[in-house]
């Protein structure tokens, strides 16, 4: 059985495969990469490098975009 880890994606707890990359998460959630910014544990991530970022247990990912506001 594949080892699982727990991460938080936009405040929601997710169980994912141990060797998942940040790119896998973006792909799985159909995130339009050009329209978002990504933070990993409060550090901004270079979107071009997400294929090389392996996720660890308890990682916190925030994916944000622009919405209507004043």
């Amino acid at each position: 059985m594949k080892k699982k880890i727990k991460i938080k994606l936009n405040g929601k707890l997710k169980t994912i495969n141990n060797k998942s990359t940040l790119f896998n998460i973006v792909q799985k959630n159909k995130i339009p990469l050009a329209k978002v910014a990504i933070e990993l544990n409060q550090e901004i991530v270079d979107k071009k490098k997400i294929k090389n970022i392996n996720l660890k247990n308890n990682d916190k990912i925030e994916i944000v975009h622009f919405i209507g506001g004043g």
Binding site: L9, N10, G11, K12, N29, K30, I31, P32, A34, K35, V36, A37, I38, E39, Q42, I44, K47, E62, I63, V64, H65, F66, I67, G68, G69, G70
Partner: protein
């Protein structure tokens, strides 16, 4: 008439009306109101992508950032740390350097927290941001923001969303006289005439959200604000007559039958 330029951070705009994109019933309504308002700059908020509902419409699908300047805003931030985090993320989305800083101090009146605002302005400017700053209508604080590198001063007319119009015209006039930076009234306008007054006081522009989005007829109000800003600006540039206590007839006194 000489070309009347509205320049923010070396970029030339023809509309002096900036509109917010919040509080509309739908993205469609928001996009149409913006079009009618003639605004070339819109404020936008940075929030989490909805992971569970992927079909939710995206702002960028309705308002093209290549045609309309997105002005990322830190609405909802109550300290410098949150505001800096928000704007750094905004820049990461696609290179946005022109931003609106808004650090609030109180959930009830939504007045700006000026100490944190000042601190954030300094840091952001050093990081290469062009910071348009939401502030109170205090001329001293406006001066300090200017000295900290703000690229536009944006005093409130009244509390955000209150619709009260310009409460302290004197302070706005004083700020106008002391600064060469773009002066933009931000927050608290209720109707089109409020925008005209702001422009007649010599402001370079106004930022409106609630007054358009929550009007019974938002499209009509968007158009009204567009016209009011143009009218107010022209009135300001025309040089108004002096006020007098007594009447002064408009028709010649000679030749009366």
């Amino acid at each position: 008439m000489k070309k009347d330029k509205f320049i923010i951070s070396k970029k030339n705009f023809s509309s002096r009306l900036i509109v917010g994109t919040g509080k509309y019933k739908s993205m469609h309504e928001c996009a149409k109101a913006i079009k009618l308002s003639g605004a070339e700059i819109v404020t936008v908020a940075v929030r989490r992508v909805n992971i569970t509902d992927k079909k939710k419409p995206l702002l960028m699908d309705y308002i093209d950032p290549k045609k309309i300047t997105y002005l990322p805003n830190t609405a909802g931030c109550f300290n410098s740390k949150e505001a800096l985090r928000t704007l750094r993320l905004a820049r990461e989305i696609g290179g946005w350097k022109l931003v609106k800083l808004e650090v609030l101090g109180d959930k009830k009146n939504l007045f700006p927290e000026m100490i944190e605002t000042l601190k954030s302005t300094e840091i952001l400017t050093k990081e290469g941001f062009k910071v348009m700053v939401y502030c109170n209508d205090d001329p001293l604080m406006a001066k300090r923001l200017e000295n900290s590198g703000a690229c536009a001063i944006m005093p409130l007319a009244a509390p955000i969303g209150s619709g009260l119009g310009i409460i302290n015209e004197i302070n706005i006039k004083i700020i106008r006289k002391q600064t060469k930076l773009p002066l933009i009234i931000d927050a608290g306008l209720g109707q089109a005439s409020d925008a005209a007054i702001a422009m007649e006081l010599g402001c370079d522009g106004v930022l409106v959200n609630t007054a358009i989005a929550k009007a019974k007829k938002p499209f009509q109000m968007a158009l009204a604000f567009k016209n009011a800003v143009i009218a107010g600006r022209q009135s300001y540039l025309s040089g108004r007559i002096k006020k007098t206590l007594y009447g002064n007839p408009s028709s010649p006194k000679s030749g009366i039958i």
